[in-house]
Symmetry: C2
Subunit: 190 residues, 2 copies
Amino acid sequence: MSQLRREVGFPYTIMPSTMMVVGEGGLAGVSSLCGALNGASSAIFLMRGGLERERREAAFTLIRELFNWYEQTPLPDYRPKAPKFEIIRSVSRSPLCHVSVSTWCKKSKFKSFSKERSERCAWITGAVAKKTVELLNASNEGTFTPLYKLSAGTQSCRSCHDQGSVLENTRGLMDCGGCHFPERAKHPKI
Amino acid sequence: MSQLRREVGFPYTIMPSTMMVVGEGGLAGVSSLCGALNGASSAIFLMRGGLERERREAAFTLIRELFNWYEQTPLPDYRPKAPKFEIIRSVSRSPLCHVSVSTWCKKSKFKSFSKERSERCAWITGAVAKKTVELLNASNEGTFTPLYKLSAGTQSCRSCHDQGSVLENTRGLMDCGGCHFPERAKHPKI
């Protein structure tokens, strides 16, 4: 957004982008939707979206590509030039802050309030911003093609649970496995 | 936001609030964070938040109250004067679109793409907007006090998993039980 302000100017100069700080920590620290995805989605919709069905769907297609990429890619795939620490990558299988952070904590052995975790989320934010710019550039140049599909597991779940199916008791495009079939030890009985 | 435009005017007149359409269906139809909560949180942060720590925390406190209320209250507690259908209430135990919708589908026996479900989400949006205005009014008048606490189950989980605990492998304030200990039948083996 700050790049658009500098390079394009109006109307981006009047956009109150400080508002998007609300997305921090999965929305006000609640750990729901990853704030990098939330902010990037708003930026995509501001540039490519609108109330007209066609514009809305075009923006949603870019956003869904960003979500699928985020769920399926070992992240962060961005590394600053002079990093404070080295940060290992993990695959979140979910757009949710909580799942993304806890999956990385398990793999990296770092704690959820460690400075390493904080640094990792900064890198993730850079990675998401970079991918967002790439998607918007491709969209501008007319070269955008979706590359990421829903996981095979999710497609299987949807055959019984999604629109027009026998059960039709869910909606949405998050990877089902990230929560329903996670690769984690069972919780001890409590 | 439209009420602020009419009654306060500038700077709300220049806010590109169409941008918040991106929250629809749990963010571009992905079914992650409930769009009513996402939009309301942005509005709260626009009015009460900012980069300064004190303003940010004040806005976050209001938003967390909204999230806890949403998770714990039988919703929708708003009913239009001439409703198309009657809509039963359910307790989501989660701020996520997918969990909120699927919990309601199970209780109401309506499908996730039914017109009744769509109507239910419209009522929920009304309920969240109403609660948001009440919170902002109380904040304006200096009478705001948080009423909703994290569930007892979540407090118990946090004693091992949250900041400063033995495991410290998660962050956030979502109700753990909504996903980890749901009142639902187990999935048949697949």
